[in-house]
């Protein structure tokens, strides 16, 4: 890995924050950048490991798709599903206008 590619800049952190739907305010941007840089610098130790021809593992129990018969089962009611909604209207979750 090239070091320049992994250099953590404020713009990079702001971009990743945007992708994560987070705002990092100006007061904490410096500390986020410096922690981030230190962590990435440490994580770059991974590049030293020889992983040629090694298959990645994404789960440890050899999972395959788990299917079930398409039979109607009891589920939560509309009322229950909406119990924790911060804003609702009729039988729906309410969100700010998107169009």
């Amino acid at each position: 890995m090239e070091t320049s590619k992994n250099k953590i800049t404020k713009d990079k952190v702001i971009n990743v924050a945007n992708l994560s739907r987070l705002d990092i305010d100006n007061n904490s941007l410096d500390s986020f950048c410096s922690h981030f840089e230190k962590i990435i610098e440490y994580i770059d130790i991974l590049s030293k490991a020889d992983t040629d021809n090694v298959e990645p593992t994404f789960n440890t129990i050899s999972l395959s798709n788990v299917l079930r018969d398409d039979i109607l089962k009891e589920s939560v009611s509309n009322k229950t599903a909406l119990l924790n909604a911060p804003k609702k209207e009729d039988r729906c979750f309410s969100v700010p206008k998107i169009l």
């Binding site: 952190v13 987070l22 922690h35 130790i45 490991a49 992983t51 440890t60 924790n84 911060p86 998107i98």
Partner: protein, 486 residues
């Protein structure tokens, strides 16, 4: 008799003989909580009234001859396991008022067994941390020394057991979050094999690593709680079909002929406290005196484990925590009229700094141009870690190692430096990467009278073996009988 200091099995015997009632026992635990909570800060929600109702039901069940090993036993629950009609916050402002409309499968199982829930206990927000300092609400204190951290992320669980504020607890372990606080608080904590216990209703941090497990004051109680929560659950497609095992049955087996593996890397690590190394060497001698032999083994990829773990765990977390968007549940910043701005503001106000840091790190590791260098590479190293364990378990029955590089540190000592905090998980997180089981059992005290834990790791679904080893070790020592002076 101080009822709150009873173990689960002691209390069960007395309940069965009708020498005590669950109501008396539950009252004693609630009184204890009232007396020491101000010092410990273990509980986020205390469900005293509910607990007494459950206790009464348990007493009725016992009177009619229906008693399980957990009937009428007061337990605390880490606040990321959903409890129907009881607030479940994940110690996060974003879920401060979340009341689950359903029970997690483990809670259903505990209720069916007649257990009494005393409340929901503190943790690092979304289980991200090693000290409970990342809680959005309060910092839990170590009952052995109130200036010290109790460990994390299941710090409230471990502290509540150590301080006799419940008879046992459920925690969760993604990289050591059961074993590490158990070690720091001088209690027993077991991370089951991935797939042993249903994760349905556990609010996810990193789905391929998370497991729910027991934290108790001794190994027998640990086996009792594991019995109650284990088993296949169709609601968790990663749970594994297993034969029903009674974990209390294998505890007393002889250790003659057993081979204990000691990873060479235990002592090669920079920064490990010599006091800890000494206790692990002493533990090896105890196993020898019990008839086992010790063999040196190697886990050569352990040096990459922390880095690989933090890539995998944060990547999964960044995806899992996308659900907290202020729409379906939890906090929403209602001032924002634009959808994207609402998401951003809600999440920025709702999540604490460590959670944000991990979401950022995970998003970065998964983003275009970095995936191969980080997520894929870390997942390949995961394969190598699994291979290391496979090789080791060909030579030995279980592995012994420290749980932590040092005894509990002071509150505030490491929370300014996330990386330093991450490195304290070095001995525990490989088990999660490999999906194997591990237990922490008390193995001594530091010169400052802080508990030290011994980690025993076993291959997939070898809980019986490590519980047997932990029990024999416990019976050969008296550390589990010591209680903090509070």
């Amino acid at each position: 008799m101080q009822l709150h200091t009873l173990t689960i099995s002691e209390a069960h015997t007395l309940l069965k003989k009708k020498e005590i009632s669950s109501k008396e026992l539950t009252r004693a635990v609630l009184d204890r909580i009232s007396a020491v909570e101000k010092d410990i800060n273990a509980y986020i929600t205390i469900t005293g009234e509910n607990a007494l109702i459950e206790a009464e039901k348990a007493d009725q069940a016992i009177a009619s001859g229906n008693i399980t090993p957990l009937t009428g036993i007061p337990l605390s629950i880490k606040d990321l396991i959903c409890t129907k009609n009881i607030k479940t916050t994940c110690a996060s402002k974003i879920l401060e008022n979340f009341i689950p409309p359903y029970d997690a499968t483990v809670i259903k199982k505990l209720k069916n067994a007649g257990a009494v829930i005393t409340g929901k206990v503190n943790m690092d927000e979304f289980a991200m941390g090693s000290s409970t300092e990342n809680s959005g609400f309060k910092t839990t204190h170590n009952p052995w020394n109130l200036k010290m951290i109790p460990g994390g992320s299941s710090g409230g669980s471990a502290a509540s057991v150590a301080a006799s504020m419940c008879l046992g607890s459920l925690g969760s372990d993604t990289g050591g979050s059961i074993r590490q606080p158990a070690s720091h608080c001088g209690v027993v904590g077991l991370k089951p094999t991935y797939g042993r216990v249903s994760r349905f209703g556990l609010i996810a941090f990193a789905s391929s690593l998370d497991q729910i497990g027991p934290i108790t004051s001794n190994v027998t109680d640990c086996a009792i709680l594991l019995n109650a929560i284990s088993g296949y659950d169709p609601k968790d497609s990663t749970s594994v079909k297993q034969n029903t095992v009674d974990f209390t049955k294998s505890l007393k087996k002889d250790l003659k002929g057993i081979v204990v593996g000691i990873p060479r890397e235990n002592n090669e690590l920079e920064g490990i406290d010599p006091e800890i190394s000494k206790k692990i060497a002493d533990a090896a001698e105890i196993f020898k005196s019990l008839g086992a032999t010790c063999e040196s083994v190697s886990l050569p990829h352990m040096k990459y484990a922390v880095a690989a773990y933090y890539v995998v765990a944060t990547s999964e977390a960044s995806s899992n925590l996308a659900r907290f968007d202020g729409v379906k549940y939890g906090f929403r910043d209602t001032d924002k009229t634009d959808l994207i701005e609402m998401y951003k503001s809600t999440r920025s106000k709702g999540f604490g700094d460590e959670v944000k840091r991990r979401i950022l790190l995970g998003t970065y590791a998964l983003s275009a141009g970095y995936y191969d260098a980080y997520y894929k590479k870390a997942s390949q190293i995961r394969t190598l870690i699994i291979q290391d364990y496979k090789n080791a378990f060909e030579k030995c029955d279980f592995l012994i190692s420290p749980v932590t590089p040092s005894a509990a540190f002071e509150i505030g000592e490491k929370n300014h430096d996330p990386l330093l905090m991450y490195l304290s998980d070095i001995f525990t997180l490989s088990a999660n990467m490999a999906g194997i089981t591990g237990i922490s059992v008390p193995c001594g005290f530091s010169s400052e009278n802080l508990p030290i834990g011994l980690q025993i790791q076993g291959n997939h679904f070898m809980e019986e073996k490590i519980l047997n080893a932990a029990y024999k070790f416990e019976q050969a020592t008296d550390y589990h009988t010591k209680k903090p002076a509070l």
